[in-house]
Structures are given as structure tokens and as C-alpha cells.
Amino acid sequence: MSRKHGWKKTLTLASSAAILTTGLVGCTNKVEKITSYFAEQNFEEALNYYKSKIKDKDREELTAALREIILALPEQFAADEIDYELARKTLDTVEAMHLSGMSEDLLVVRAKIQTLVNSKQAWLTAEQAFADGDFLAAAASYERVDPMDPNHEAAVEQIAKSFAEYEASILAQADALATQDDYDAAISLLQEAIPNLEDAAALESRLEEITAAAEEFRLAEERRAVLAEAEEEASNGNLEEALGILDRYKTQSGDSSAELQTLYDQYAADYINATLQQVQEIMDAGEYGEALEILEHARQVAESEQFDALLAEIEAVRPVYLSELRAEERDRFEKIERNETLKDTQGNSYSAASGNLFQLNATKGSWTSEPGMVEYVLNSNYSLLSGVVAVDDESDSVKSELTIEGDGVVLYTLPLSVSTEPTTVSVDISTVNVLKIQLAIPENDGKLIAILSGFYLEK
């Protein structure tokens, strides 16, 4: 009711103004009549009156009066003095009169009314979105509130408020996610939000902070996993592997945390002690070559002055193994791979783990007689040649002869056959320049393989 009343008032004032402006008394009554029908919202009567009473001479005055009425409509609609339906009927009625020069005004007014309709809807949507906490949507809707709309000024304020709330809500959410260690989600949230704000400095700053925190968290997680893996290996006695794991991680990540270093130092100390004990036992058993190999390997795993000292000690006392010498000549002489084990005809096993196990292979057949031999230049640097000779269980039942010669002179002869027991050989070589070990089959056809195990030369 109040709207209608307000409209009548407005319309009445406009009509009076039109009368005063025109000063045409004859026409005025007819024009007033029509405008009064508009004021009473009696559009049907207005149209009927127009059709029956209005003559050509009245049209100019009527046009002016009705233009004023319709031009006022947007402002009245914007101020909620009239509703959309009343505005529409007013415009439809005026349009139905087909007054000359009115069509453009009608189009303009209709467009303004529609803009205001949309603006009002945008305001309502924005208010709802704001109330729901959807600040980005609220801001977008507030931006659609038209300057003609009385809410426009408020909308402008609300836009700033919406973005502020949006920023605050994103920061709060990101912080909450980060607190729960869900750094990926927090980072995604911030990265998606930043383009939505004209001034995203706060979000960008938080993104940097959270990214750094995420990296720190990742490193911490990685470190925890590496430490756990290393601890697992160490608890299983694999200290070398544990050290390897820590060392590789240190190199790859650049992690210099005290936690990591402490564990590394602890394992290194354990490894060094265990290795020194193992090497000492092997040395006590006279296996200097194996002790050396273990130490050389251990030096690659962990640094220790104790390793260096023990190496020097071994070097001073150890004999030279056959495997360390370079053969000047060799034929049918084979070094056995470390992963292999040989068996002799008496059922004994010979491990090649120390790398100092050899086979001398002689064969005799209808085609050839092929003795096995190996020759070393010693230059009288050694005093004694020692080792064990056995017959490989792949040998045939043939008689063979192993000879050790020094500078062409036979120093030692050992007949070999499949029934030969392992024999310890010890030969004085103090004056020998060229040492030759030879295996030959003098009579029947077949193959015999001599095992040379643990041969060494004393200085």
C-alpha cells in the first residue's frame, strides 16, 4: 500500500508540473484525466479514454506528460516506491498508445528497470553468500549491484569486506591444514586462492611459509624413514649397510642434522670395532691376504686411523700370496673365482674366497699332450714357497707329476693321481730368479687337475 501511495504522489506531482509547463488549458483537462487514471493505476480506463477522447491536437501535451511519468519510473523502482509489475503495466499502457517519439524512451526505461531488477537480485544473492561465508561469491555478486541501486554504496563496502573475509578464511583454512601436516592441501588451497585477490600479498607470504614448513616436514619424514631403515639394518648386524644408508642419504639430501650425525658416528664406531676384531682373528689364523682385503674394503666404508695402523702392521709381517704375483708365462693355469669352491678326490673342499686358489690343468690325448705350467720372475726376493697341493675331483685316473723348478733346476717333484692325499709343499727358493710350477701327464691319456691352495712366498 505504501508503495502505491508513494507512486500516486510522485505521479501527481509530475502531472502538475506538466500542466504548468504546457499552459494549454483546453488539452490539459484531457491530459490530466489520463494522468489521473495512471495515478490511480487504472490503466485500462486510461487507454480507453485515450482512444475515445484524445485527438491529434492533444497528443503533444499528452506525450510530454507521459514521458515525465515513465522517465521517473526507474528512480521510483530503485527506491522501492513502486514494484516491477506497476512499472511494467505503466510502460505497456504508454506503449499501447503509440505516441510519436516515445518508443526510444520506452526502450531506455525498460532497460534501466531490468538492470535494477538484476541488481536487486545480485544484492540479495550477495547478502546470502556473505551470510553463508562464501565470500568470494559474495564479492562477485556485490560487484553486480548497479550504481542506480540504492544498495550500491553498501555493496562497494561489502566487496572490500568480502575479500577481507575471504582472505582471512583462506589463511585460517591453510593454517588448519598445515597444523594437521596436510601441507599439500594447504599449498593447493593458497595457490588456488591467490589469483582471486587483487592484493594477495598475505596469501603469498603464507604460501612461502607453508612451503618452507612442508619441505622441512618432508625432510624430517625422510630422515625418520632413513634412520629407521638404518636402525633395522644395524639391529640385524649389517652395520656396513646401515652406514651406507646414512651416508647416501647425507650426500643426497645435504642433511647435516645432529641426529643423523650422532647415529652415523655410533654405527661407524661399532663397525670399526667389529672389523678390527674380525681382522685380528683372521690374522691370528695366518690368513693375511683375507685380512688385507677386509681392511681395504673397510676403509671404503668408514675412516679410521686404526685401520691404517693395522694395515701397516700386516704389510710388515705378511707373506706374499701367489695371487699377488704376475705370471710371466702361463698355460692351462687358472685362478678360481672367489665364489667357487673346489673339491679334491679325497672329499676335501677348498674355498676361493681369499682369491688365492688355482688349478693347474694337464691333459694328454691322442691329439696332444698339454702340460699345465706357470712361471714367475722372483729375482731372489723370497726365501720359501709354501702351499697345499691336492688333486681335483674332476681328474681322470691317470698318473701325473707336479714339478717345481727354480731357474731350470727341479727343486721338488710330487707324483699325483686320484688317490693322492692333500700334500703340504715347502720349497726353498732363496736363490731362485725364475720359478716354474709344471704339471704333466707322462703316460696314459687323460686329464689331471692339480689344486694349488693357499700358496704363499715368504720374504
Partner: protein, 298 residues
């Protein structure tokens, strides 16, 4: 029947006999085609014991080689039968101990030929041995084996003898350009047509070990024998080398890659190769058991 089937059949025959006397399977290749194959026996004591019961070996020993076979430093190294030009052939070959002196070998050669009545062949043996020794500057007389091939009536068809290329230096010779030239010079033969193949064989880790000569009153045929240099564990890995060599020398139609693989699975590898010096297109391929296989059979 495919080559492989025939080989398998031959090996099976030996297995059934239970003699464990298999030594080589020999394939003769001419112009890239298989012309014959033969299984060679190793004269284990059991085989030797049976020799006396079998003609024509008994006849040979009784008639010709009684004194020779009983001499010190002589032993039978090969007995085998083959079919040549539709005729059964019997082979009996003796080895002379490597430690015998030149004079002792000369004496044994005299014993060998004393009942054969083949003085011209005896002279040829001496001549060939001397020529080879001279060409290679050998310090020893290279006669290593000597024997005969007969018909079923023990009539001598061919005298066979083998001249060693390994005894003098204690080192096995490599077959290089110089070796081929010296060998050709020793027997006045042009070895250019097969020189490339000979060098290829050497590059595949085979070394020349002896020259084998078949001689009758009119003709002679010489073969250069190579033996694989691989020993021990190396022999387990010779298959790719054999495949390469077979392809390079044009023997694929006789022994395909598949054949080589199948033979290898049966424990056989290409241990020896012989080149007929008078015929550049004739070769003999010898397959023997890999050392570990042979051992596992004993």
C-alpha cells in the same frame, strides 16, 4: 635323418655298448656340404682287450705289427671303422711316446714297415718328417703317430702318420701368416686358397697341433689339425665362438646354430678342426665331450 638325429643315434649306440670309448665325432665337410661323419673310439683297456678277438685287427697285429706293437714307447691310440666309397675300412693307429729320441723313433719306424713291404712310403714318412722339422726349425723329430687303414681282409689301403707341431718348444704354435707360409713351404703346397680360413680358426682360439698324412703308393693327402685352446671352465663358454667360426668359414649348412646349441646341451663342443691342405674346400670338424661332461660319464 637330420645330422643331429644321426649324431644322437651314434652316441646312443656307444652308450648302449657301455664301453665309454667315445672320443670324437668327426664331420667331413666338402664345398660347404656334409659328405660323411664318423665316431672315433678311444682305445680304453677294454677295447684293446677286445682287439685281439676281432678281425682284421688281430690279423694286422699278427701279420704286420707284432714286434712294433710290443716295443717300448708304442701304444695303440685309435681303432675305428668307417665306410669309404662303399667299402668297410678298419683303422689302427699307434702313438710313439714323446720322450723317445729321434734314433728310437727311427728304429720303431723300421719295425713298423718291416713286414709291410712299402719302402717308398717309409721313405716318404722320413722325408715329410724331415721337411716339417726343417721348415719350423724343430729340435726334435716330429713323428708322433703312425698307423694303417685296411679293408676287411686286412689289406693295407693307406698308411697314416701324424707329425707333431708342439713337441719341440714346449709352447703351442700360433697359426699366423708365418706359420701358413712355413707349412706350405714344408710340403710344397699353395695354401693361399685356405689361408684366410686358417687364420680365422686361429683367431677363434684354436692352435695347430699336428699334420696328419694319408699316403698310399700313388697319392698323399695332408691335413692340418687344430685343437681348441680352451680348457677347464673356459670350455663351458665356447658356444658363441663356435657359432661365429662356423659362420665365417661357411659351414652353416652342415652345422647350424641350432645344431651347435643342441650338441652343446649334450655336452659336446667343437674341440678340433682339420683342414685338408690339398683341398681348400674340405674340412673336418671334431666334436668332443666338454671336460666336465666327459668326467661325469667316467
Amino acid at each position: 635323418m637330420s645330422l643331429l638325429k644321426r649324431i644322437q643315434s651314434s652316441l646312443l649306440t656307444f652308450g648302449q655298448q657301455g664301453k665309454d670309448s667315445f672320443e670324437y665325432l668327426g664331420l667331413t665337410v666338402r664345398k660347404g656340404e656334409l659328405v660323411s661323419y664318423k665316431v672315433y673310439e678311444n682305445p680304453t683297456p677294454r677295447v684293446e682287450a677286445e682287439l685281439g678277438k676281432q678281425l682284421p685287427y688281430r690279423m694286422l697285429l699278427d701279420k704286420y705289427f707284432g714286434r712294433f706293437a710290443a716295443a717300448s714307447g708304442v701304444r695303440i691310440c685309435d681303432v675305428s671303422e668307417s665306410l669309404l666309397d662303399g667299402e668297410d675300412r678298419y683303422r689302427l693307429v699307434f702313438t710313439l711316446d714323446r720322450r723317445l729320441s729321434h734314433r728310437e723313433k727311427e728304429q720303431l719306424l723300421t719295425y713298423f714297415f718291416e713286414n709291410l713291404e712299402l719302402p717308398e712310403i717309409c721313405a716318404a714318412v722320413r722325408q715329410d718328417a724331415a721337411a716339417l722339422a726343417q721348415s719350423f726349425d724343430m729340435g726334435v723329430w716330429p713323428l708322433q703317430q703312425i698307423g694303417v687303414e685296411t679293408d676287411v681282409h686286412a689289406a693295407i689301403r693307406v698308411v697314416k702318420y701324424y707329425l707333431d707341431l708342439t713337441q719341440d718348444s714346449g709352447r703351442r704354435r700360433a697359426c699366423d701368416r708365418d706359420f701358413v707360409d712355413r707349412l706350405g713351404s714344408a710340403f710344397a703346397l699353395n695354401l693361399e686358397p685356405q689361408a684366410r680360413s686358417l687364420l680365422q680358426i686361429a683367431q677363434h682360439r684354436y692352435r695347430p697341433v699336428f699334420v696328419g698324412i694319408n699316403r698310399d703308393t700313388e697319392n698323399s693327402e695332408r691335413k692340418l689339425y687344430f685343437k681348441s685352446d680352451a680348457f677347464g671352465r673356459q670350455t663351458e663358454h665356447v658356444l658363441p665362438m663356435s657359432e661365429s667360426l662356423v659362420e665365417l668359414c661357411g659351414w652353416e649348412r652342415v652345422v647350424t646354430k641350432a645344431d651347435l646349441g643342441a650338441l652343446h646341451k649334450q655336452g659336446l663342443y667343437l674341440e678340433g678342426i682339420a683342414s685338408t691342405l690339398e683341398r681348400a674346400d674340405e674340412w673336418r670338424l671334431y666334436f668332443a665331450y666338454l671336460p666336465r661332461w666327459r668326467h661325469s660319464r667316467v
